[in-house]
Symmetry: C2
Subunit: 182 residues, 2 copies
């Protein structure tokens, strides 16, 4: 029970953390339905059976991953907002969008959220996605003071980026791809 001293075994809490981090990559490829628990376990470097000791079932695991992504994206927005000293809504929003765009390098994080929206047929997942959007919208609104119209445009832009990342539009050399990538 003690927390002192060096240990070879990780604590369950530490393991849950690494699972959350590595599962992002696994779920980003084929989403909730298309990703097996064995793949997630392998990505985390543990056995599939132990995964079921850390999380009650696949759905709870996926919801935890979604929450984790939600937090990291909000951190990213906060960082962007902090960097923009100004209080002008448009300026803050642009800084946030810039920070978000840098997240695209970390494609997987955004793709998980897209996959989560696609798995909304499961009530628990739908709820997690709604909460994620609620937090993000309210954070952006509070931090930027932007209007509804601006906020809607902000999220529409982000979503388009996500989908373009999903179909690897960056690899396509054609007018339509250049137009959408902006």
């Amino acid at each position: 029970m003690s927390m002192t001293g060096a240990r070879r075994l990780s604590t369950a809490e530490e393991r849950r953390g690494t699972v959350l981090r590595t599962a992002i990559k696994a779920f980003a490829a084929r989403g909730y339905y298309g990703t097996t628990t064995t793949e997630v376990a392998k990505a985390a470097g543990i056995s599939q059976s132990y995964l079921y000791r850390l999380f009650p079932d696949k759905e709870a695991l996926f919801v935890a991953v979604v929450d984790h992504c939600s937090d990291r994206i909000r951190e990213c927005h906060a960082e962007g907002a902090a960097r923009a000293g100004g209080t002008e809504p448009a300026v803050v929003l642009a800084a946030m969008a810039g920070a978000y765009a840098r997240l695209i390098d970390d494609r997987d994080l955004l793709l998980v959220l897209l996959h989560a929206a696609c798995a909304s047929a499961e009530p628990a997942i739908r709820e997690a996605v709604r909460v994620c959007y609620a937090k993000q919208v309210e954070y952006v609104r509070a931090a930027s003071g932007a209007s509804d119209e601006e906020i809607r445009r902000f999220f529409g832009d982000g979503l388009l980026s996500n989908v373009l990342a999903g179909i690897d539009a960056g690899e396509v050399d054609a007018p339509w791809a250049r137009t959408l990538l902006g």
Copy 2:
């Protein structure tokens, strides 16, 4: 072989058409990975085994459904453009967006496209989605004469609508939902 006379049996071509139409509803709920061929067959009123005579495999079936949705959406855009007599880009674009918004009533059509983007890990599906976007962007560009910036905004708005439909944001009574729904 003859085509004359009344028949109880449908032709394979007719069946393929009904499958394409009814499969939209089936795939819209859980996407490519989460929908079984049995569900698709049941929605079309045929046996699962006959589904495999009409389409070589599940992937080809899904790609055919995506192509079908792509066509119907383009028809919808065309209808909107035709209704707007004016040649002003913004006017035509608004008319198209209006026609597209009416499609949201037919939620399933749009959701299939969202699910398709999420199933882009399969090369054939990714290609179908890219072609779909290519056609739509070029059609919108040609019909409206809008700038890249306007087109990007047009698609970002549409995508946001799709995702909000996916998580049933219309049922949520909260500020964030009202903001995003506009």
